[in-house]
């Protein structure tokens, strides 16, 4: 009986036609009450109980029209004799079933990228393999990608979208027949249910309109609230108080008609409902809100109610991003018997058929597929045209934050950061993921619009986070555990770094951060993960985020006589994790001033349209970046890798002439990332030598700014990698040697006064010896176990 209901209601005026009046040969009669007969062997279609599908709306029916006023909806097809189509549709059950079975048996998708299909032979019929899986696993759910149906049979797809309520049960029938034909011995808990997903009808909640009612739709959104489980009665069980005769009554449009007369003993009003023998199904209300990316500016997000049934209950949690496939419903407000007029408003909801979490890791493959629809063909065309332009790199970089003047190289650096490198997986060789994100640090005088640049980037990328070093704590960046006020359970609340996974985390006032906070960045900026061990929750979260940080010099003004490290007082361990470090300084040059003035003045009087002519639209830029990030993953060409090797060797050479190391593997990695990003800007699948050239240039520019030793004027990478320039280190050694000589010259004096030793050394040396330098020399000698310093005395060790 159960299997019948969903189909049964499709017959117009079923309330007036008894089942046995319908032609028994009709496919509509599939799943007659006899299928519920107990005692038959539990195999084969007839033996496996069908499970009701409240998601297809057996509870509330579509408006019906009585048969008497309407022509009987039986269409005759000349070639196949009399054939029945379901009333109000053009669906012929037999044809539909056949088509679907053919689809199942024949459809292959050799280019499938879905994770779900991993392990399946892509050249064999896809869904037959899935059926085999069902027979092994015993989970009687078949997920069907609507796009597959569409590419196989567009007509079938159209029917599925327009009449899901009729077509899906037909699919169910088809799949069960096929299944039990193939695997006659398998035992399932209930009959297989088909769950279509990825309907192309609708993507955005905002675009739902009355035409979508009763159609199959897919929308994306974020779950904001889930209700408790609601048991919904599907079938009432009544027992006669007099003769103990029992009867079952189906729910019809949300109501159960209590039988007034017992059919057995003819007593009136003797039947009573027995709750624990009635059949209930699970139901849950889920509120879904538009995802913030889909929303037009200046509007509030829309919400939609979704009902989940049976095993879909509790599949999603608040905060999950999901794609929901289901049937859109509108129900008129209940007619109140005591009131004549009703509110003219419908209540709308979606009966969920399929959930797909978009933020779950296993779905990354499809995620990209979903994003594809963000771009219309026209848009892709525009983007490609743009990419084909020879000066696209310059164009894009000047479109970046046009209100900020010049700093071309910084903008270029940030542009490359926005695109990012290619993600590589070395986990099989034990190295784990390779960082693909480019990290950038901007330092410079206050008021050089660093914050503005950060704000711009934050507004540009979909998953950007903006924090200020002053206002954020370590937990604010990583994650914290709190008690959920509603459920009283401990929940993990993620912080800025985790939230900006796959995006950019902008950290302003980087230097104001406490050491504690900064230390969490070490892991994020190289390994791209975050390990958390708090309140019994131990986990590792992904934080594949690019960091764009801004720092102010310690003395309010940048001191050109000091190194970068000395100016911003950040540990070199952290600094070396930045691919590019830029200085934003006031150039103090007349020509620059003039251009700046012109730029600012025009900012204030040019109209919006004039500006747009000059620069790319922010939206285009956004799309361009999103497109490149999704589709382009350039690989190094032979030529490019040679160029990279050369570049690296050159960098090492520069230093070796002066006896210092000037490049480390980290720099090589940076170069690769930058070159890849540059290739992405060009929409090129191959990294070529021009990409390497630009990467080299940019990297050199940044180094020139940040790693120039103020004492010698040379670029010295060790300033960033070890926190001290090679010259400074050399000098330290010289002083230590001089000191050693001095002490040795003094002969056998086991202990000396600290101050006197300093004075002596100063007297001997030609250059000024600072107290710090002296201390360092002492420490160096102490490390050699030559002497020890205790308070104000210096003792020689044996």
């Amino acid at each position: 009986m159960k299997g019948l209901i969903s189909i049964y209601i499709l017959i117009p005026g079923s309330s007036c036609i008894q089942p046995n009046e319908v032609d028994m040969s009709s496919p509509l009669m599939y799943g007659t009450p006899s299928s519920r007969v107990e005692g038959t062997p539990r195999s084969g279609v007839r033996g496996t109980p069908a499970r009701q599908r409240p998601d297809l709306g057996s509870v509330r029916k579509a408006p019906q029209v009585d048969l008497h006023s309407e022509p009987v909806a039986v269409a005759s097809e000349p070639n196949a004799g009399q054939r029945l189509v379901i009333w109000g549709t053009d669906v012929n059950v037999g044809t539909c079933k056949e088509k679907f079975q053919r689809f199942l048996q024949r459809f292959t998708d050799p280019n499938s990228t879905e994770d779900e299909n991993a392990g399946l032979d892509l050249n064999e019929p896809l869904y037959m393999q899935k059926l085999e899986e069902i027979s092994v696993v015993g989970d009687p759910v078949l997920n069907v990608n609507c796009r597959h149906v569409q590419s196989f049979d567009a007509e079938l797809y159209r029917q599925l979208i327009c009449y899901p309520q009729e077509v899906i049960p037909t699919f169910d029938m088809a799949v069960n027949e096929l299944f039990f034909e193939r695997f006659p011995d398998s035992i399932l808990e209930y009959q297989i249910q088909v769950r279509p997903y990825n309907a192309l009808k609708t993507r955005n909640m905002r675009s739902l309109n009355p035409e979508d009612i009763d159609q199959l739709i897919t929308i994306s959104g974020m779950v904001i609230r889930t209700s408790q489980l609601i048991p919904e009665m599907q079938e009432g069980f009544f027992q006669c108080q007099v003769c103990a005769y029992s009867t079952r009554v189906e729910v019809d449009r949300g109501r159960i008609a209590e039988p007034a007369v017992c059919r057995n003993c003819n007593n009136t009003h003797s039947l009573a409902l027995v709750h624990n023998r009635s059949v209930f199904s699970d139901k849950q209300m889920i509120k879904v809100q538009e995802s913030p990316e889909d929303m037009p500016a200046g509007q509030t997000p829309h919400t939609t109610v979704v009902y989940a049934h049976n095993d879909l209950v509790d599949k999603v949690q608040p905060g999950d991003r999901v794609n929901i496939t289901g049937i859109y419903r509108a129900v008129p407000m209940r007619v109140n018997p005591r009131q004549n007029n009703v509110k003219s408003v419908y209540k709308t909801h979606i009966d969920a058929i399929h959930f797909r979490k978009t933020d779950e890791k296993r779905l990354h493959g499809l995620d990209e597929e979903a994003e594809q629809k963000l771009f219309t063909e026209d848009r892709v065309q525009t983007l490609k045209e743009l990419a084909a332009k020879p000066d696209v790199y310059e164009r894009l970089s000047s479109a970046l934050a046009p209100s900020i003047y010049e700093h071309e190289d910084i903008k270029k650096g940030i542009l490359l950061q926005l695109f990012g490198g290619t993600r590589k997986d070395f986990s099989q060789t034990g190295r784990g993921n390779f960082r693909a994100e480019v990290n950038i640090l901007l330092c410079g005088d206050p008021g050089t619009s660093k914050s503005q640049l950060l704000q711009y980037v934050y507004n540009l990328v979909p998953r950007g986070q903006y924090t200020s070093g002053k206002g954020s704590s370590a937990v604010g960046l990583t994650a914290y555990v709190m008690k959920d006020p509603e459920t009283r359970q401990l929940v993990l609340q993620t912080g800025a770094l985790v939230l900006s996974d796959n995006g950019i985390c902008c950290i302003d006032e980087f230097d104001k951060m406490s050491d504690n906070t900064r230390s969490v960045l070490h892991e994020v900026m190289e390994q791209q993960t975050l390990s958390i061990a708090k309140a019994g929750i131990i986990c590792q979260l992904n934080a594949r985020t690019a960091v764009l940080a801004a720092a102010n010099p310690v003395e309010s003004q940048w001191n050109p006589k000091k190194t970068t490290i000395e100016n911003i007082q950040l540990p070199h361990t952290l600094l070396s994790r930045f691919d590019l470090i830029f200085l934003m300084l006031d150039p103090q040059d007349e020509a620059y001033d003039r251009r700046l003035a012109h730029h600012l003045v025009s900012l204030y009087y040019q109209s919006e349209e004039q500006m747009e002519e000059e620069f790319l639209d922010m939206a285009v830029l956004k799309d361009y970046i999103a497109y490149a990030r999704t589709y382009i993953s350039p690989r190094l060409s032979e030529e490019a890798s040679q160029a990279l090797i050369e570049a690296y060797v050159d960098m090492r050479k520069i230093g070796s002439g002066r006896g210092m190391v000037s490049a480390y593997p980290r720099q090589l990695e940076s170069l690769i990332r930058l070159a890849e990003a540059h290739a992405k800007v060009r929409f090129s699948e191959k990294v070529e030598s021009i990409d390497v050239e630009e990467a080299k240039r940019l990297h050199r520019e940044a180094l020139k700014q940040s790693a120039t030793d103020p004492r010698t004027g040379f670029v010295d990478i060790s300033i960033l990698t070890t926190g001290m320039s090679a010259t400074a280190r050399k000098r330290k050694e010289e002083v230590a040697q001089a000191l050693k000589k001095l002490i040795q010259a003094k002969g056998k004096t086991p202990a000396m006064k600290y101050q006197q030793l300093l004075d002596d050394l100063r007297g001997q040396s030609e250059t000024a010896i600072t107290k710090e330098l002296f201390d360092e020399a002492l420490r160096a000698l102490a490390d050699e176990d030559y002497l020890t310093v205790t308070g104000k005395t210096v003792r020689l060790l044996a």
Partner: protein, 639 residues
Amino acid sequence: MIHINITDLWLSNYLCLLDVLAASQNNSNSGWETKAVEFFQDQLKERDTHTLVPSLNDVPLHYLKPNSLVKFRCLIQDMFDPEFYMGVYETVDPSTKTKMLRCGKYKDVTECGVDFNSRNTVTAERQTFYCVPIPGENPWVKEISSSCLTEARVVPSTSYAPSRQKRSYEEDDDMDTQPQKQREPHAGPHSPSEHHGNGDCKRQETEAPSSQTASASHLDLNFPLPGEKGPSCLVKVYEDWDRFKLNDTLEVYGILSVSPALSALADEKDASSSLLDPAESMETAEEQRVHSPPASLVPRLHMLHAKPLPHNNPLLPSIPVLDKESTLTVVILSSTLSEMASVREEILSYFTHVLLGDALAAEYLILHLISNVYSRRDVLPLGKFTLNLSGCPTVASYTERFYQIIQQLVPSSHYLAMSLQNMNQMRLVPKKDYVANRLVSGALQLARNTSLFLDETQLEQGQLDTTGVRNVTALGNLISWQKVDYDFNYHQMEFPCNINVLIASEGRSLLPSDCQIHLQPQVAPSHLEESLSSIHMHPQASSQLNKFRIYLSMARLLDYSISDEVTKSVEDDFVDMRKDDPQSISAEDLHRMLVVARLLSLSLGQTSLSRDSWLRAKHIEMLRRSRMEQHKCVNGNEP
């Protein structure tokens, strides 16, 4: 055929008209509806009829006739989900079994005997906005706009007799024959004192009951600012709802619906039907209360037409419907532009007096009051001018009196005492409440060009808690980027705003500002008290006040441009200044000077920058900076 007697009908009962039309053209229901709406909009455009329409802002709800045409000056506080309704439906008379098509548009409740299974039912979509009166609207605005109304049309606000319906028809006829009469109050600066006296007694009469309804309600009407009064409204929008944005200020013309059935439905659902139907009990009680509050408290308004309000100053000539701002400028130019310079003098001397004899600070105050974010370059808002008035005397509640004066001059404003308690407890940023499914408002959800007065002299020593830090950050963001990040629990959403922030503090404010000026009272400390009280006592003739009000609102609406020559000379100036001393002027200073120059020109009624104004801007900037340095020297520990 349509234009028979509609002119008389449309004002009072638009719905009757619709039904008449629906009945007459039963089946071909395509064209008539658009025609009717078009007709109505034409009516509003052609004649000054909008003054004839009673306003929900001024007339208490229970004096308005249900299903009549009303207007409402409001701010979109929240946007609910779109709803589907029966656009056209069929009713069956139970006794005669005759079927009839009916129109469900502009109505909340259907007629009896709806046939749900009819194939003629057309489902349509509409959007609901939750609208509140413009937050912080000052009393003088309400007074004047209601008195304008009463003068033009005595009926709606004064004739509270139940027999009103008939009389209003007659009145309409009167109006039709002599449309000149209504235009009068807008012809020019009418003597407002008359309005005043006239409106006052009526206002008392009208206000009393409305305040009563507000206080009697147990319902949180979700006003952005505490202590606000007035009706809030659920506005149903039938087309083009995408063009409205949150926090837009509108004048909505629509059909008032206060059917008691609405509230009855809501009540009943709470009580009984939740047991019957589990699906409907899914809406929590809170959500019910918010989304279908009793119509007596929150009336429904079915929008026929909405006019965006670029300002809410009732003294300015109202903008012709559907006209662009450029035309407005032309209108203003001809009439009052010439007077602006002289009014500026007056207002300057008035402010100098208020600011204890400090003319420079007064100058900056004018610039601040006419500032306006006129454009945004990517994230950078242009034209904002947050003023930090430091050195405010803490005696004799100077700041509060100062605010009262500002309140008298700007259409909407809000005083926010930055006391520790306020900062730690107030809800400044709107937050989405998912249980009730609404946006819970906060004090920073303000209409454009609202003056926000931050009184930092109220700040005492103590500790800010988490809320406090968040509130201060929100204020900082508001000032620097002119945006507020609304809290949607799972994510934040950025809403641009356009709020004039004035910070009064003792020392330099802890918040950022575009411009800081230290107050230098010319009054000896001993006379401070005296001088302060004289400000308050100083009775400004209300005609004078009105002149100031018009001046401030108008200067803000003017267009502005810079010619190429002036651009050149500004650039030269900048280069020269940098040549002498690169430290003295940074790009940021140039930004500020350009804003000052812009505002200075506008305050003088000049729509393009002249060399003189640029020099003058440079001059007052220099004065201000030298004062700041001076102050720094005196008070070494100042940052």
